[in-house]
Amino acid sequence: MKTKKFREPLTNTQLLMTITICIFFTMYLLSMIFLGGGFLRPQQIFDMLNDNASLIIVSLGLTIVMIGGGIDISVGAVTSLVVMSCVIYLNKGGSVIGSVLMALGIGLAFGVIQGFLISYLDIQPFIVTLAGMFFARGFTTILSVEPQKVAHEGFDVLRKAELKISWLGYTANNGNVIPGTIELGVFIALLCFVLVFILLKFVKLGRAFYAIGGNQASALMLGIDVKKTRFMSYLICGLLSGISGFVFMMHTGAGNATNAAGMEMNAIASSIIGGTLLTGGVGDVVGTFFGTLTLTTIKKIVVASGLNDPWWQSITTGGMLCFFILLQSVVLNKRSKKKK
């Protein structure tokens, strides 16, 4: 991919993305060399994917919205609402297919309502999705304040479905061979990733997201239905939060009112680290994917390097975020000056 781009200069999107990917690999290599241990096992990467499948899905949706020049901070709360309602539905004796439909339905409903308010009524996206976040969080506690555990046979089968790769496993201290495990949720996340990638690269609608995010007026002159496109971006984001909720439930198997707390900010951070700009028009889901992995790797490194005080994890995350944001700003400023 890189060799192809050598002839023409990289666009801003590709440059920011490349920086992120390079930093991710350097960081991972360095931790493999200096920290060793878990980082040498492939399971470390699988664990990162297993734990963050739902975050990846949510970040994909958020990237689409951010490329379109908007913001959606309701995603974490919607995820939590989906988890709670699906858990309650399953425990009342519902079917697995019903719960999948329910997850998609809730996500879609949030997407449709928020998208309508933002694009057709012209209300600031921050306020609308803030209200969406309040509503979803509040409704989750109305459903149940107590944590709920899923007890459902059909769902347990789905939950236990995982791919075991024995040759990527490792031998534990007691001599047992533990195979590399990938959960079903990761495959759902990867499927979403591929679909969104195709949407953004090769589908007219996806290109329209970039157009309205880059310059709304010229997008209008190109004959793009700006309102409809913006509506679609929120709709897709809502749908992805619904899927993310289901994946979250498959990972934890329980519903809790504080599920996915702060997920929206993590998703925004992943998108930013991946090179998406909040101003719109710039961004790529490949970058977002690596952004999520980078964010998780930082946390893993902090734990592995023995900083066990509870505050270090978020302080280092903040520091790294600061580094990435500054780097992007400096790089972009330099480029825009060069062009002039």
Binding site: D122, L130, V145, I325, L326
Partner: protein
């Protein structure tokens, strides 16, 4: 007559139309539901002071931190066309520093409290400066720049406290947090009033308001006119830092302890909401601080009304969201235009009728 009517529907009170309508609706709703909601009584609190109590007082008292933060946030919003989402975390840091200094000093008296306030103020201003430099010098969008402090702010506060939630008890602190002996009005309300007056004086005697608005409306035009846009942006964040410090101090004094996790939790979202309900454009430019203050009281009144209706504290958010959506839908430009059209159609019909009558 005609122009007056037109002016009202186009927002006769300017941007204050929506917050005032919201307050009026809430008051009417409460009057119908339970008129005793507004009763104010004089009672004696545990310390034997004569104090005012009642729902109205608790609304005005409870919204104090929010109102103070909303004042600073309005300035940042106007100048930088974005919001600071780290105010809650920064307030936790300021509160921690405040408590740390008080714990370090041998006794808590007026001098040490002032010293602690000054120290926490400096720290809060430094963090404001950090955000401000990112926004003004490095040209990062405010929401992203402050995301950094939002992520790690509460952990820094935890670190300052050394992993504990220390208590501080003193009559001076409870004087700041609740009532000063002999004065029946809660002290936080007085602090809000003082802050509002300071802002008013600041705008009266300096050209800060004008400069901020011009930077927010068109930065390059402002620069061409010789305004130092970078400095104005930085200044708005530093002023917000002072507001954050005051809010954090009130929060600490109310409880007499610093808890980095729960101090002013989720306040950043409420603050932005207060600014938006106050009719300020979140995209920067013209602003009215009075709108934001009213917005803060609208939010608190809504919350208190819901509590009075026996809604549990965790469920309040859902109902709040519905009211917010209703408010912003009423205030949205598209709905306003439609509404104007309907009014105009009705009027033209009326005119046609009266003309027809005249002819007949």
């Amino acid at each position: 007559m005609k122009s007056k009517e037109k002016k009202f529907f186009a927002g006769g009170f300017g941007q204050l139309t929506i917050p005032l309508i919201a307050i009026a609706l809430l008051v009417i709703f409460n009057l119908i539901r339970d008129p005793s909601f507004f009763s104010i009584t004089l009672s004696h609190n545990n310390d034997g002071n004569t104090v005012l109590s009642g729902n109205l007082i608790s609304i005005i008292n409870g919204a104090s931190e929010l109102a103070i933060l909303a004042m600073g946030m309005t300035l940042v919003t106007a100048a930088c066309r974005g919001q600071d989402i780290s105010v809650g975390a920064a307030a936790a840091i300021a509160g921690s520093v405040f408590v740390k200094v008080l714990m370090a000093s041998s006794s808590i008296n007026a001098g040490t409290v002032i010293l602690a306030f000054v120290c926490s103020c400096i720290v809060a201003m430094l963090f404001g400066c950090f955000n401000g430099v990112l926004v003004a010098v490095f040209r990062i969008q405010p929401m992203i720049a402050t995301l950094i402090l939002y992520t790690c702010g509460r952990s820094i506060a935890y670190w300052i406290n050394g992993g504990a939630t220390p208590n501080v008890k003193s009559p001076i602190l409870s004087g700041i947090g609740s009532f000063i002996p002999g004065i029946p009005i809660p002290t936080p309300v007085l602090i809000v009033a003082v802050m509002a007056v300071i802002f008013k004086l600041l705008f009266r005697f300096t050209s800060l308001e004008l400069l901020t608005q011009s930077v927010g409306i068109n930065e390059s035009a402002a620069k061409l006119n010789g305004i130092n846009a970078t400095f104005i942006k930085l200044l708005s964040f530093i002023i917000l830092g002072v507001c954050v410090c005051v809010a954090g101090m009130i929060g600490v004094c109310r409880l007499g302890l610093i808890n980095h996790e729960t101090l002013l939790i989720d306040v950043e979202m409420d603050t932005i909401l207060a600014v938006a309900i106050g009719g300020n454009n979140l995209g920067g430019g013209k602003f009215k601080i009075s709108g934001s203050i009213i917005g803060a009281y609208v939010i608190q009144m809504l919350t208190t009304t819901l509590y009075a209706m026996k809604v549990s504290s965790t469920d309040v958010k859902a109902y709040k969201a519905i009211v917010i959506v209703l408010l912003v839908v009423i205030g949205s430009p598209v709905v306003k235009k439609k509404f104007d059209k309907v009014i105009r159609n009705m009027k033209s019909l009326k005119d046609a009728d009266s003309k027809g009558e005249a002819k007949a």
